[in-house]
């Protein structure tokens, strides 16, 4: 069975304030000269290695898993699944 790497990126919804992202932008990036930065959102990333019959199946397994196991809370978070090539 072929092996695949998938990234599961969990980020807060835009209407939930992200004080960590705000602090990183305000107190690190902008204060140190990167004042072109307009926004920063912090999040969590899970790097998953798995076996699947093909790329589509690998993504489908991860999609099913994140919803079934509430890997993100749909009330507060968004979740993106990306196959790493």
């Amino acid at each position: 069975m072929p092996k695949f790497s998938v990234e599961i990126i969990i980020e807060g919804k835009k209407n939930a304030r992200d004080p960590e992202g705000e602090t990183i932008m305000r107190d690190l990036m902008i204060k140190h000269g990167y004042d072109m930065v307009e926004s920063v959102r912090s999040g969590k990333i899970l790097k998953v290695n798995l076996e699947a019959k093909d790329e589509n199946a690998a993504e489908e397994i991860c999609l099913k898993m994140v919803n079934e196991l509430r890997i993100y809370n749909p009330v507060a978070h968004m979740c993106v699944i990306k196959l790493v090539k």
Binding site: G12, A16, R17, P19, E20, T23, R70, N73, V75, A76
Partner: protein
């Protein structure tokens, strides 16, 4: 009145003994204090189920999510549907939310810090299992101790929560005013605790078990007792 209640312990529960102490030594209840796998075997015999505070499974991924998937929570859901009071305090509230027994999410405090301090809770409804001896507008002094206590819900959910009288407590000043400063974690609409539609499932971030004895309070208050006395009354009624 004989109280047949259980406190369920998970890996990483840390406020379980505080809760059992308040129940046994302050309220004089008979309490079973059980590991979650053992609790699962005879959960049907209890009149009320308590999920204590702590950091179950290290708060990994998200506070409460891993405990929410333990088999005992399936049984807790069944009992909740039957109308049995299910009370979650702090991490217990997080478990109730992640189990979808209560709506919303509890996300990182806006301060980005773990916060351990006394708060003032205004009772918003008298119909929940944990507030039915209180009067709407009463203010209780109860401490918080959490890093992920910011209650969050979308606009539609919030509207439903308000319309269905599911908001049980809000953080206020000691005179009951709703201010930004009184909100310790950035919770939406200063929400500190909520209940389900029926009022038997109740989640609260602050710790009433740490506020039930005058020796624990700088003001010698015992406001946490109102929480437990309400549950007694709720059980007498049902």
């Amino acid at each position: 009145m004989p109280m047949n209640v259980v406190v369920i312990q998970f890996s990483g529960s840390t406020c379980d003994r505080d809760l059992v102490n308040a129940m046994r030594n302050v309220m004089e209840w008979d309490v079973d204090f059980l590991w979650h796998e053992k609790a699962m075997k005879n959960l049907e015999k209890y009149d009320a189920i308590f999920l204590p505070g702590g950091f179950t499974y290290g708060d990994h991924l998200r506070a409460g999510i891993i405990a929410a998937f333990t088999p005992v929570m399936g049984k807790v859901k069944e009992r909740a549907k039957e109308g049995v009071p299910v009370l979650g305090i702090c991490n217990g509230f997080q478990i109730l939310v992640e189990s979808e027994l209560l709506p919303g999410a509890l996300i990182g405090n806006e301060t980005l810090r773990f916060s351990c301090k006394w708060t003032n809770l205004r009772v918003e409804t008298e119909r929940s299992a944990a507030t039915n001896i209180a009067k709407k507008g009463d203010v209780w002094k109860v401490p918080i101790a959490h890093g992920e206590g910011r209650y969050f819900l979308d606009k539609k959910g919030l509207k439903d929560l308000n319309e269905n009288d599911q908001i049980v407590w809000r953080y206020t000043t000691e005179t009951g005013e709703l201010t930004k400063e009184a909100n310790p974690n950035g919770s939406i609409e200063n929400i500190a605790g909520i209940c389900n539609l029926e009022g038997n499932v109740v989640g609260l971030m602050p710790h009433p078990e740490r506020a039930a004895e005058s020796t624990l309070s700088p003001w010698e208050t015992e406001d946490g007792k109102f929480y437990f006395q309400s549950i007694e009354k709720f059980l007498r009624r049902s």
